[in-house]
């Protein structure tokens, strides 16, 4: 197989940006970071698809907003995204830990203490990676983080090499490319008492979904976590890792969702649980819109 053309490396999902970020973490002095991140975030506004996706989402979340206002908000989203991925790489490479504020500690402690397995349901918000790694370091069981694979194959190889070198062995990553194969593995993990972490705010091709309402729009969200919870009997903990400032993160844990079979209509039972998840997602999304790193429109515009 021939090497990737240099042009592909410079695309938004290209490996060049991952390498540049890693270089920056090793070389940019901390007091120069705000300048570097501000500059490169501005450059990333040239990524048309991402910029348009975020602006479309902001327009749906804030119906009375203006295009100019949303352009500044989009920059803020890109700025926060740059900080979170930099903090994640800094933790992996240099073991630099941020400050943490835990909100909803009773739910977090219940999650840590529960005897059986559990599902952590989160969003593309704040630092999902950083939270998962820190959770794995303090948990006494394995965490399987489900995510979509990197689009670019060279980037995928780069991330796998970094993961092999830096990530706690108690944290495993499962890719949701073949939903049916992964589902049995995840069910087995839950039955062994381990924890599954899934992002439940976006559907990728081939993933089972269910329609619900988010910010007044009909949207398809992953149904897998709810099906898994119903099959295994474990609770779902909505949990978000949000950036609260420079090297400061909040870990928000909400009341668990139990997916219980109450009727003959399995979908109806799952829909009720999905509605609770959507309420939490909307609540957190409203408060932390500048950290919802969803670079694609979450729903069709009316």
């Amino acid at each position: 197989m021939t090497g990737q053309p240099w042009r592909r490396r410079l695309l938004a999902h290209g490996v060049f940006w991952r390498q540049l970020l890693r270089w920056g973490v090793f070389n940019i002095p901390p007091w120069l970071e705000p300048i570097a991140i501000g500059f490169w975030s501005l450059l990333f506004l040239l990524w048309t698809a991402g910029r348009r996706g975020v602006m479309a989402n902001l327009a749906m979340m804030k119906p009375t907003s203006t295009t100019a206002g949303n352009l500044f908000r989009t920059y803020r989203v890109f700025w926060n995204h740059a900080w979170t991925i930099a903090d994640n790489v800094r933790f992996k490479e240099l073991r630099t830990v941020p400050d943490w504020q835990f909100l909803g500690t009773s739910h977090y402690e219940a999650l840590q203490a529960c005897q059986g397995g559990a599902i952590i349901l989160t969003a593309h918000m704040g630092s999902y990676d950083l939270g998962a790694q820190l959770f794995a370091e303090h948990a006494d069981r394995r965490i399987v983080m489900v995510r979509a694979p990197e689009i670019d194959p060279e980037t995928r190889r780069f991330e796998e090499e970094v993961k092999d070198r830096t990530v706690d062995e108690r944290l495993q990553v499962g890719f949701n490319t073949q939903a049916s194969d992964l589902a049995f593995e995840l069910l087995d993990e839950l039955r062994q008492g381990h924890i599954i972490a899934i992002q439940g705010d976006r559907v990728t091709p081939g993933i089972a979904s269910m329609n619900t309402t988010l910010f007044g729009k009909t949207v398809a969200l992953p149904a897998g976590p709810f099906a898994l919870a119903m099959a295994s009997g474990v609770p779902i903990y909505p949990l978000f890792v949000v950036r609260r400032g420079r090297r400061r993160y909040g870990l928000l844990t909400f009341e668990p969702i139990h997916v219980v079979r109450r009727s003959r209509d399995r979908d109806e039972d799952m829909r009720a649980a999905m509605a609770r998840w959507t309420d939490v997602l909307q609540q957190v999304g409203s408060a932390y819109w500048f950290q919802w790193f969803n670079f694609y429109p979450y729903a069709e515009k009316a």
């Binding site: 890693r22 270089w23 090793f26 070389n27 940019i28 002095p29 901390p30 007091w31 120069l32 970071e33 705000p34 300048i35 570097a36 501000g38 500059f39 240099l94 073991r95 630099t96 830990v97 941020p98 400050d99 943490w100 504020q101 835990f102 909100l103 909803g104 500690t105 009773s106 400032g245 420079r246 090297r247």
Partner: protein, 176 residues
């Protein structure tokens, strides 16, 4: 890495600050700080790392404004036109020394923060000295820069003289 749990006032630990001026300020704040209450259902965990605080933003903004002033005065156009251009170019110029030192001279994927920091501050110091001796309007900015650097050197001396007292102040938090 050392962490401190449920003591929000520990954010003023001098060990969480990088430059001597800020470390001294933090020591004063820590000395006068009262224990803060933790809200219900909340837990705070603070990391003790010298680059943890918002001091980095203050320094970054100061360096950005300084560099923007220098670049604005260099551009052969009206300052009102030069200023926004300089504001866009300055962040890139500030990173240039790191591309050379950390991208070419030193191994790329080793912690080179100190070497790159010296390079950037060295270039800015040289530029400030040049402007300080000139008759151009950024002289004032240059004097502020040189004054801040000199103040930090003095603060470092004071912090060194008070190192035992500062260590004693921090010990109470680090051992808790």
């Amino acid at each position: 890495m050392t962490t401190i749990r449920n003591r929000p006032e520990a954010r003023w630990l001098p060990s969480r600050f990088h430059f001597a001026l800020f470390r001294l300020y933090a020591a004063v704040r820590l000395y006068t700080a009262k224990p803060s209450d933790i809200l219900p259902e909340t837990m705070v965990v603070l990391a003790v790392d010298r680059d943890q605080s918002l001091e980095q933003y203050v320094v970054a903004v100061w360096l950005f404004l300084t560099t923007t002033a220098y670049v604005t005065s260099l551009l052969p156009i009206h300052p009102l036109v030069a200023l926004p251009l300089a504001a866009i170019v300055s962040p890139f110029l500030l990173q240039l020394p790191t591309f050379l030192v950390g991208g070419v001279i030193l191994p790329r994927f080793r912690p080179n923060h100190t070497a790159n920091g010296i390079a950037v501050m060295g270039v800015l110091t040289a530029a400030s000295l040049a402007y300080a001796y000139s008759h151009r309007w950024p002289r004032i900015v240059a004097f502020v820069f040189i004054g801040a650097m000199a103040s930090n050197v003095v603060a470092a001396g004071v912090a060194w003289a008070l190192r035992s007292r500062i260590a004693g102040l921090e010990r109470e938090y680090l051992q808790s």
